[in-house]
């Protein structure tokens, strides 16, 4: 690890102990040195150095700089930013220059953080391995023949490869948590609505969230604290905790943790299970009360997800029509072909699959049987989680049934690929927060422990995750 804790970096910059410029240069060098992992789609070198100079000038004048002053960060390339193009790793946005930037980016920059690069992802965040990127996959930092997870694979790899102290990702069904799991870093999926989605390429509006990937829980907590809060440009944002998300409750002792029975089936790699069992034992030793809980509707969560999310995707991706921005079909002769050719040429296979499934389940005659039914099964799931949280403070499980799989292993079978999400999607349907903390290795690859908390209990979740992290060392 070549980066100090984020809060310390900012303090050192304010104190003049280290220049923002040197930090940006360190990040840029690391990005260049680790180019072969293909974590990055575009580097914002010029703009990052300009911002660093601005910050260093302020410090020299004795002015106050922000809580993240000089801290370099990387954003998944579905965040609209002014310093770079925003491609969503898709040909359809290959040359797109955003006219405004995401609220999350604005908030981080207001506190002095410096965007250095955009990270690779599955195109439009559709995927669990980053293999659906139009520009080639990212490679797992631990094994170049394996995937880094997805869809925020570039962000996960970037943090694991020390390119920056933190990166931003999005999580619609596990897309922060799975890369965090496969790359051995911390990944936080906050409560739905806690962080504004304004300026982030929409995938599924009722489940999309924004969150940080970082080396430690305290770093993730600070980034959440800066990014969270109601935004006038995103009507789905909720009030944040009044207390700072960096004020972490310290105890594990006396907390009740429910181990999710449904996540420990035959499909779970025994080597992964072993690490999770070790984690459970550690928590028990530290004074947590461990109970087994069962949420039978979890067996329906993946089916529920793959109806609701494609439906919302089909709606959100209808804007990519080649008329106002993005890839257009110069050879189109009429309106219909201008739509059809741009979309056919611009989208990846997985995008088309999801658009088609989504359109089908929303279409007349099928809407009730599929979409409405799925949204009602969603209610069942929400109720089960609510009932369970009456009995326990947190929930625990593995993040995925396997460690990082090989590149190409699942590309020919979409359904097989979807199974990587089986332990992450429920959390998105319900809207609760979840965090992945590295917890050992299996098959010489990272394993992440997944912890969940009730809606709006992000601070408590960060608290127990931080305490668990402390047990590791």
């Amino acid at each position: 690890m070549i980066w100090e804790p984020i809060a310390d970096i900012a303090k050192d910059v304010q104190a003049g102990k280290v220049t923002a410029k040197s930090l940006v240069q360190k990040s840029l060098k690391q990005i260049k040195d680790k180019e072969s992992y293909h974590a990055i789609l575009e580097v914002a070198e010029k703009r990052a150095l300009e911002r660093a100079d601005e910050i260093d000038a302020k410090v020299k004048k004795g002015e106050k700089v922000g809580r993240l002053a000089g801290v370099p960060f990387i954003a998944k390339d579905n965040f609209l930013t002014l310093a770079t193009k925003t491609t969503a790793a898709s040909h359809i946005l290959e040359n797109f220059e955003a006219p405004f930037q995401a609220t999350a980016i604005e908030k981080l920059e207001a506190e002095g953080a410096i965007l250095v690069a955009k990270a690779n992802l599955d195109a439009f965040a559709h995927g669990g391995s980053t293999e659906n990127s139009a520009f080639g996959p990212t490679l797992n930092p631990y094994d170049k023949t394996r995937v880094p997870g997805g869809s925020s694979g570039g962000s996960g790899a970037a943090v694991a490869l020390d390119m920056a102290p933190f990166a931003l990702g999005t999580d619609t069904g596990g897309s922060i948590r799975l890369p965090a799991n496969f790359c051995g870093v911390v990944g936080l999926k906050p409560t739905y609505g806690l962080v504004s989605r304004y300026g982030v390429v929409a995938m599924a509006s009722s489940t999309d969230v924004i969150g940080p990937l970082a080396r430690t829980v305290v770093d993730a907590a600070l980034v959440l604290d800066v990014m969270s809060g109601r935004d006038q440009f995103d009507g789905t944002t909720i009030d944040r905790d009044e207390k700072s998300y960096t004020e972490l409750p310290p105890e594990i002792k006396g907390k009740k943790i429910g181990v999710i029975k449904e996540y420990f089936t035959d499909g779970l790699d025994p080597a992964v299970k072993e690490q999770i069992d070790l984690a459970i034992a550690k928590l028990k030793k530290a004074g947590a009360e461990i109970v087994e809980v069962s949420l039978p509707s979890l067996d329906l969560a993946l089916a529920c997800y793959y109806i609701i999310v494609p439906a919302e995707v089909s709606s959100n991706l209808s804007r990519y029509d080649g008329q106002r921005y993005g890839l257009s079909a110069d050879d189109a002769t009429d309106l219909d072909s201008s739509y059809e050719l741009a979309r056919e040429r611009g989208f990846e296979g997985e995008n088309k699959r999801r658009i088609m499934i989504g359109t089908y389940v929303l279409s007349s005659g099928y809407y009730d049987a599929y979409y409405k039914k799925a949204q009602t099964v969603r209610t069942k799931l929400i109720n089960e989680f609510e009932d369970t949280f009456k009995k326990v403070d947190f929930l625990l499980g593995p993040t995925a049934p396997m460690t990082a799989f090989k590149l190409g292993e699942n590309v020919d079978d979409p359904l097989q690929m979807y199974l990587a999400d089986i332990m992450t999607v429920a959390v998105n349907l319900v809207g609760i927060p979840a965090i992945v903390v590295p917890t050992g290795t299996a098959n010489n690859l990272p394993v992440g422990l997944q912890l969940m908390a009730p809606q709006r209990a992000d601070r408590q979740l960060l608290g127990i995750a931080n305490a668990y992290e402390g047990l590791e060392s």
């Binding site: 109806i307 008329q323 106002r324 921005y325 296979g349 009602t376 209610t379 319900v430 809606q455």
Partner: protein, 97 residues
């Protein structure tokens, strides 16, 4: 198990405004049939007495005052990625034939 015919896929592609190749039609016919078969798991689930959830925040009627606000973008900003433009407008193919 519901299976899509190639005609079904072509019809669906039309709704999605996707001009699929013949190879794609066959490929998606198989893939989508498999996915649909999996999600049909929900068909027999008893949801008696439950309402559908469309959003998890519990928020309602998030409105603001009806006043002009500054989004920080100009028409020029919004047109800069346009494939074709004319008189400060997006230029598109003829719609009314």
């Amino acid at each position: 198990m519901t299976k899509f015919s190639t005609a079904d896929i072509r019809k669906l592609a039309r709704l999605c405004r996707l001009r699929l190749t013949d190879e794609e039609v066959v490929k998606y016919q198989n893939e989508l049939s498999n996915i649909l078969a999996y999600v049909e798991l929900l068909q027999d689930v008893d949801v008696n007495g439950l309402e559908p959830t469309s959003q998890v925040t519990g928020l309602t009627n998030v409105v603001r005052e009806d006043v002009e606000i500054d989004y920080g973008v100009t028409p020029a900003d919004l047109l800069k990625n346009a494939p074709a433009q004319s008189q400060n407008q997006f230029k598109v193919k003829r719609m009314i034939v």
